[in-house]
Symmetry: C3
């Protein structure tokens, strides 16, 4: 099945949200526009809308992530859905049941949405291609492949703070090789038509084929940051590195850590982003993380609104499908 | 206290649900009828009824079971109850508090229902005989003793697909010795008046006293399956076997695994059931589990409706008790 | 920042609830009066009030406590809040993120309240002094320092059963040295103006400076219990003792365990309290724990109402702050 079209229904509505790759610009804009309307909900005194009342959202986490799980749980609860948290590592698969049997059981319980986090690339697609028609799958990070809600909250943050994408130069810095976040960001930034995407990192952490994605590769961070509008720092993925990709934390910080003197080369009003959790003094200096150009906590806030938007959109497709049956 | 009457109140309403043994046919029918009315709820767009709004249901799991816990949690939430999940192994009992103290504390917090899963037979009865008058206890599986909601969802499934119980021949296949599910099924099938109950398995896995329960024992699976209407496969309980009950998985599958050629001996429209999670290629062939006669996933769906029904019935007794005080 | 004033807003309303120390008598009375109005909620058929609907309460537990976590979760749910349970030990801090980054992320998700349990004294104050203006912090026990909701539920219990504080003699018995509960109780009893506070325990378990708190110290339990109206037994905190404070459990029980003969020295209508979980036969005899003078389970019941009251009060300050912005 075509990896890019499985996530759309016959009317080109978002049925699953698995990857940014292959999605049209208009759909990314629709997600951001809807997120804009939800961003007020979290600031109200009563932070609830009844849009998903009576729906059951299952957080299916095959690798642990309190932070990401929490943002999806909050987004679902603020849409009034019921939420089940299932830590699959500790669950039925240990009793010898296959993954597909576990999924089919949850379907049979009339769950409506699976939010999936998995260590293997492609697992969200695999699950989406095997679920019943009444289930929507949202990829909350699969291996090195994609983390599309993270990329969309980043786009939402850039749009709020910088407006028009067409004039922007964006630099993504760090461990591109292992980063599902960066892959999704590059697809989103391309689709939204930014002027220039730069990736900055050591040779060992930039995929060989990076330039085929339409990005400019820099190994010298000072050159790469010159005149950019947006600096996206990536997290050093200790847990995903099993080779000798890096000389040492300290040396990495010297060369690729974001510090005041390096940031001074970007535009004066450049914003600094990071998907979190941050390693202070490893990929970013503390005073930059907490400084006036940092929008890291705004990203977190926007994450709730964007996840609410994606959930609401896939449930629209879902409602249409239910009506049709 | 009489094990069979503790679960009824003075008006013969279900106060606890601990075992099928000793319950009247009319009560089993009442559970199935109410489950029928709830089975629509899970198919609605808004899967909620306000019947248990403001009630607190506590999942008290002394042995882990994500699947069973999930079905009770979903049933409670679809009845609009608040749910607390308490994993007792990791809880206060490790601080030296006794089980009864833990229970009395939860009672003092004005919880309304304990859903209990425990490795020891009789533990649900023990708890029910010690709780305050305002608490209902539902047995979610105690040792080798009983798993009454599982048996009732099986009866509900049989009734939906086969109608009248009186004409049916039902075979239960596998590890009867360790199976609380089978014990509860046999009581339910007897009470509902099926024509014939057969149990099929190796001598080491059939309790010596099986025939006193009014069942026919077969050690040859082909003989046992001949002309039955319903085939209930049991799960091989690896985790509950600590002796040398079985030669090998492979040999077991050859003799007692459900395969196409063996199933061909049953009636052509026989249905195949399994409480899950299934061990493909151990007690059941994959193509049978996924085949046209399998109703395994329907069982899962019915499990939600039946658990909603049992919870709602015990809360009716509860409401009457509250009014009386 | 002044440890005693940080918990009040400019209008002297309770913004955080960190310690009893420094709070005025009128505020303690306000908490008890509000708890009185909530204590009916848990006895209603529908145990819910919509006061915190749409608010997000985060249980931030840095040391595990199923019991305390459960009471806060129930209190929050009965106020209609959404609840997130975050076990910090297992969470982002293991990925190298600092505690403050974790907190700021939860703030950015527009959470409203942090209920904090931590092994280090002062941690709740530390967190309260660093959170955003829209967050209230409730101390659910920090090291040896304070456990103010426990103390307030004890005061509520004493007021319900004994009325006027001014005439009462209260004895606190056991491991005062390690007890955050006792510290908070002593501050509350002093502020509410009891006639006499006695602390009873071995020299090794009474802080050297105890008498500066205005209590009378007894090492002989029989002398200490004479004519008291309230006996508060403390839990032996095995898990917090790392030296040789005690000869043996058995010997401790002989000397400082509450038994019928010792209790006979108190007033005939004296009540017996314990914060739980109890160690039967260590600090208290079973027949006393279950006896006519024990109010231990009433304390648990009152714990829900008092926690609802504290949550509701801090959210009033919160609402006023939101309106002001």
């Amino acid at each position: 099945m075509n990896r890019h079209t499985i996530q759309l229904d016959a009317q080109n509505r978002l049925r699953h949200f698995l990857t940014i790759e292959g999605l049209k610009r208009s759909l990314l804009i629709e997600i951001m526009d809807l997120a804009e309307s939800f961003s007020g909900v979290s600031e109200q005194s009563v932070k609830k809308v009844p849009l998903l009342r009576g729906k059951t959202v299952v957080n299916l986490f095959f690798e642990p992530s309190t932070r990401t799980r929490t943002t999806f749980e909050l987004a679902a609860k603020r849409l009034s859905a019921d939420v089940l948290n299932i830590n699959i590592a500790a669950s039925a698969t240990t009793k010898g049941e296959t993954l597909l049997d576990t999924l089919h059981n949850l379907e049979a319980m009339h769950c409506d949405m699976f939010v999936v986090r998995h260590a293997s690339s492609g697992s969200a697609h695999f699950i989406a291609s095997h679920v019943a028609p009444h289930i929507s799958v949202i990829n909350a990070g699969d291996g090195r492949h994609a983390h599309p809600t993270q990329a969309m909250l980043d786009m939402f943050t850039i749009r709020r703070l910088k407006g028009d994408f067409h004039k922007l130069k964006v630099a993504i810095v760090g461990d591109l090789l292992h980063s599902r976040v960066a892959r999704s960001q590059i697809h989103a930034l391309s689709t939204l038509g930014v002027d220039e995407i730069r990736v900055i990192g050591p040779r060992t952490l930039i995929p060989a084929a990076a330039e085929t994605l339409g990005v400019h590769v820099y190994h010298d961070m000072r050159n790469g940051l010159r005149d950019v509008d947006v600096v996206i720092m990536l997290r050093l993925q200790y847990e995903r590195m099993n080779g000798a990709f890096l000389p040492s934390e300290h040396e990495y910080f010297q060369v690729y850590g974001l510090t005041e003197d390096k940031l001074a080369l970007a535009k004066p009003d450049a914003i600094v982003m990071h998907p979190g959790p941050i390693n202070r003094g490893v990929e970013i200096a503390s005073d930059i993380a907490d400084g006036r150009q940092s929008v890291i906590l705004q990203q977190v806030t926007h994450g709730i609104a964007v996840r609410m938007a994606v959930m609401a959109l896939t449930m629209r497709s879902h409602a249409a499908a239910l009506e049709a049956t």
